[in-house]
Amino acid sequence: MKPIVARSGAAVAVAASFVLLAGCVSSAPAESDSTSSAAGEGGGLTIGVVMAETGFMSPFDIPALNTIKMEVDAVNEAGGIDGAPIELNIVDTGSDLDQYASAAQEVIDAGADVIVVTCDYDVASPASLVAEAAGILNIAPCVGDTIYGPAGGLELGFSMGNGTPGESSVMAEFAVDEGWKNAVFLTDTSIKYTVGQCDVAQKRFEELGGTTVGTYDYVQGESIVETVSQITAGTAPDVVFNCGYSPGGAQAAKDLRDNGVTAPIVSGFGMDGTFWLDSVPGLSDYYTVTYSSIMGDDPNAAVNELADGYEAEYGERPSVGSFVTGTSTVQALVAAHETAGSWDGKALADAFLAFDGEDLLVGPTSFTDELHINVERPQRVMKITGGELAFLEERAPEKVVFVD
């Protein structure tokens, strides 16, 4: 018989590996919250929402989900669609990957005409594929990866988000226009979105004559002091691209500043918001490219009005600029239904593909047979100075580049 300690050691190692591989995602049964009476009653639209109200995806999902609720209320107060109210059947997945397929099946069985999923392809795709198999239109409000669509096996799948190629091209073009020549690229490898973000930004930056003086990886939860030591030992960068999301991206920003890297830092939507700023007191010279400003200074008055309404409804301002994509999801559905005349998945998808600069709150929206996500919309560059986030400029990509 082997000693208990040896067996315990092996068990601990196996369990530790399991937790790490599982991405430390806690598991909980999906919770359904139907805000309607009987699903599909009266022939109106029933939207099955398979998103995370809890867990690690919830900071990204909740703002879009809340504005979906607000827009549905607004449409229903105005008489609904063809006189029928929109119904919402919401399942909280707890950000648990294992819950997505079953949650999608649950809302479909309950009569959902359309499925709305979580804001990350890796997490959402099990639900999207279930919708796809059932011939139901599936929308991700703020996925940035261009794989959401035909490239990911989703002929009926569309994202209302700003595609990574456009977002990252804007990041690079902004940096070059600021006169920054040498760049370090820091990539959080824990999700595809941030990996693609730095790949595209680096490619566009170099296209424009910039020089890469270092590329480094990190994963959520890691301190990057060793990487900072390597950065400070090499050619001093004019700019650092931090392709990450909070809290790991915030840790990276803090490690950079605490250890003497004063170069400007540019990030994408993953580092939007003010909730992490207190961790790096007095943070300055930090720029984020995102959907809209949550600070009330967006150039689009309708965005500021929505942010104010959000605060009145939920007691706090939206945490990130993607809150406009929830409203846009409902706007797009209403517009597509006018063309399609039904809630059939294929008919709605054809109507989406017929959009030609459709005027949605998130920006002009068009799709192609290959790309079910927008890459050319104007975006907001936000600037952090002294720990305060403020709108800096609106900027559309001059050229959108793609990486394999």
Partner: protein, 294 residues
């Protein structure tokens, strides 16, 4: 040479954090044969205390973090583990795993899934340049704090009556109890000390990151546990050295691995764990076979 020195300084600081985590985990394992996966949630509770209270009163925040760490550790003992003392190590392990997930959900329910942020002891985040080598004050504080706690625990174990009882219980819980060691008290004191150490880990990590979320304590606990396994779960000094080795190895691999294989640095640490478990199932610093807990 300076980059080599810099890598060593970074690695020593990282190793000190995991050594502390391994100390807290190893203490409890020594007495109860419990590899406590929920140790991370004690760290998280103290970290929430620091992040929330620090902007109001730094002294209160530090004291509060220590009190909360000890209280959560004791609550774990009395609410869960004291009912499972006669169960197998595997049962305790699974229970701690479940408790870890439960507490993460509770934190999420109370504080939300998003991170809370605050600048904790921002003065410690500053760096000075000494002959081309960057020295972060927090690194120095981490190493000193770890050394002080290690010495403190060692003195407690060897110079106090209750400490000697803890050592006796670690050596053979059943015999120690037959000889009059107060098992309930010994276990409670062990949990309390491990909670205090968790608060120290939380302090270092919150100064380092300035944020806390529901799964904040998971990673240091994982690597602390792995370190304790490498060093030898039943040997407290071995566990501490193991934790230190894991931190140093991770840090040096990050500094020195070529970019092409750098993303796989964690895999190399796991390879190390596998190699150690194959060659030395009881850990590098454990002599002989462990004894069955009753």
């Amino acid at each position: 040479m300076t980059s080599f020195l810099q890598a060593l300084i970074d690695a020593t600081s990282a190793g000190a954090v995991y050594a502390l985590a391994a100390l807290g985990i190893g203490l409890v394992f020594g007495v109860l044969r419990l590899a406590n996966f929920a140790y991370g949630e004690i760290i998280t509770a103290s970290a929430y205390t620091l992040i929330i209270v620090w902007p109001m009163n730094p002294v209160l925040a530090v004291l509060g973090a220590a009190v909360v760490g000890v209280a959560v550790a004791l609550a774990m003992n009395y609410a869960v583990f004291s009912w499972l003392r006669s169960q197998s190590a595997a049962t305790l392990l699974i229970a701690s795993f479940g408790l870890s997930i439960l507490l993460q959900r509770i934190y999420e329910g109370i504080f939300g899934a998003n991170v809370l942020s605050a600048s904790v002891a921002s003065g410690l985040s500053t760096s000075v340049n000494l002959g081309g080598v960057r020295l972060n004050l927090l690194s120095v504080v981490t190493i000193v704090l770890a050394a002080m706690l290690l010495v403190g625990v060692q003195l407690f174990l060897t110079r106090t009556s209750i400490g000697l009882q803890v050592q006796a219980a670690s050596a053979d819980f059943r015999i120690a109890r037959l000889l009059g060691v107060r098992s309930g008290l010994v276990i409670a004191v062990t949990f309390a000390i491990s909670g205090f150490i968790a608060a120290a880990v939380a302090f270092v990590l919150t100064v380092q990151s300035g944020t806390v979320g529901p799964s904040f304590g998971v990673q240091p606990t994982l690597f602390g546990l792995i370190g304790a396994v490498i060093g030898g779960l039943r040997n407290l000094r071995g566990a501490v050295v193991g934790g230190f080795v894991v931190g140093v190895a991770l840090s040096l691999l990050t500094s020195w691995l070529p970019p092409e294989i750098n993303p796989f640095r964690t895999a190399f640490v796991y390879l190390l764990v596998i190699a150690v478990l194959v060659l030395r199932p009881n850990g590098l610093f454990s002599a002989g076979a462990g004894k069955v807990r009753t």
